[in-house]
Amino acid sequence: MEPVLLKKFFNAGFEEIRVVDRKPFGLAELARYPLFAPEFLDFLRKVVPSHRHEELVYSIVVTGRKPEKGGEEDG
């Protein structure tokens, strides 16, 4: 989930963490990818409630910066 991912950036020591892009990613978007067989997309249509088909996940871009000094922790 997005807050979990951002916390991992924070725990790793990044600063100026920002979500600079955020778009819904639904079954139509997944269908563009050759990674997913039609059978898998059919499976998703069946097991995921229809109200989520257009917003199954979100595509985000996160940016951050390593501090000028220190900031190295394992997340």
Partner: protein, 188 residues
């Protein structure tokens, strides 16, 4: 608790990405500008499998050194190599040999001499501490069972003040367990 062991996840991902074929540029056209795509070898465009445009937000400058974690067939590595110019350097890292091979063909085809490709793991980046100005990645962090480790490695290889621009998929609401357990979902 992860549904797949680290070893199983790597096996599934290597196999899926090693075998992937694409006959169209649908993914790339939804993400990148037409002008960007026109500069690149078609193979790199057709095999774009990212989920966003990390290069757009990386504010790359000529002369910088960029690392692309999970470079795949190389589309973002190529864009980074073009952006940093001959005084800069772009390094593409991927754990799937077939993808590195494809990326190498695309680098050669474009005639870039400032791009280097390496096979390796993003959980153990084969680069020295503080050697990178900017780390980019596109739709790859979610493939790792050790995301904190990947970000710690990203931090290690960045110079102080270095930047990261990472595109990825996140869920906002839990998905059914059948989906999370599916190898097809993991590889995507």
């Amino acid at each position: 608790m992860p549904y797949f062991s680290e070893a199983d996840a790597r096996l599934i991902i290597r196999q899926t990405y090693g075998e992937v074929q694409s006959a169209n540029a649908e993914v790339a056209e939804a993400i990148y500008d037409r002008e960007e795509l026109e500069r690149l070898p078609y193979g790199s465009v057709a095999l774009a499998l990212g989920v966003g445009h990390p290069v757009r937000y990386a504010a790359l400058k000529p002369g910088e050194t960029v690392l692309d974690l999970g470079c795949g067939a190389g589309i973002d590595t190529l864009l980074a190599g073009l952006a940093v110019g001959s005084e800069g350097r772009a390094v593409g890292l991927d754990m799937t040999p077939a993808m590195i091979e494809r990326a190498r063909e695309h680098v050669t085809s474009l005639g870039l001499t400032n791009v280097e490709l390496r096979e390796g793991l993003m959980e153990a980046i084969p680069l020295p501490d503080g050697s990178i100005d900017v780390v980019i990645s596109n739709g790859v962090l979610n493939l790792s069972t050790r995301k904190g480790r990947v970000l710690a490695e990203t931090m290690r290889v960045l110079r102080p003040g270095g930047r990261v621009s990472l595109a990825d998929l996140v869920i906002t609401e839990a998905l059914p367990e059948e989906v999370l357990k599916s190898p097809a979902a993991l590889a995507g």
